[in-house]
Symmetry: C2
């Protein structure tokens, strides 16, 4: 009978810039983290994402949360059958001031730019067809 390993969280001083950058260099993981740390709710259970985007298998999501946790970006706690994740942004802000805000802001800028590009394309298509 193989048992589940306990959840590992690095101490704040063991969190590395490379680790943070690596974990946030994946589009799914930045999106999760942006939701958690940004405008969204302070806590998020992994299942929320499975419900909102059925395209990501749950084993993959589980690995993404593990990556976020082991890089120190997120604190996870089991509550009954579900897992609650909270951002460790305050701690990280102490160690690496400005890093996470800058990344999240860049992420927003990029998303806004993409949305604008899509609108432009739609407008062009309408002009051609009309």
């Amino acid at each position: 009978m193989k048992l589940m390993r306990p959840l590992m969280h690095p101490a704040i001083e063991d969190i590395s810039v490379e680790g943070i950058l690596h974990v946030l260099s994946d589009p799914v993981r930045v999106a999760i983290y942006a939701e958690l740390a940004g405008s969204g709710s302070a806590t998020m259970c992994s299942n929320f994402l499975q419900v909102s985007d059925r395209s990501i298998p749950k084993s993959t999501l589980s690995q993404h949360f593990r990556a976020l946790r082991e890089a120190g970006l997120v604190r996870s706690e089991r509550h009954g059958v579900e897992m609650r994740n909270t951002s460790r942004c305050k701690e990280i802000e102490q160690r690496f001031p400005g890093l996470l805000p800058a990344i999240l802001n860049a992420h927003c800028v990029q998303n806004a730019g993409q949305a604008r590009a899509v609108k432009r394309k739609q407008a062009v298509r309408k002009t051609k067809s009309g």
Copy 2:
């Protein structure tokens, strides 16, 4: 006779946060970039690194510079037999304000912390032996 492909540089609007984070999540590449963009000289030829750190094979260094270039962090130009690399930090600062300064600063913080940890260990060793 296979010829060398031309150097590809993305347009500023095609540079992605994920690409930047991924490329800078490698310790060798952040170190190169920090040297280029930070306190060091504005231009750097790849060979400089081979001379200063013999432990990295030149084919590996070549790939690292290609990664930096294709993520949009660096502009490379061939000058005779050597390659000159310059940071594209001004352009990136326009697109993603504060992102690169925050990463470079975090990198400094981390290096400073590591240096302090090493000194602490040395001090402990001296106390034990003395």
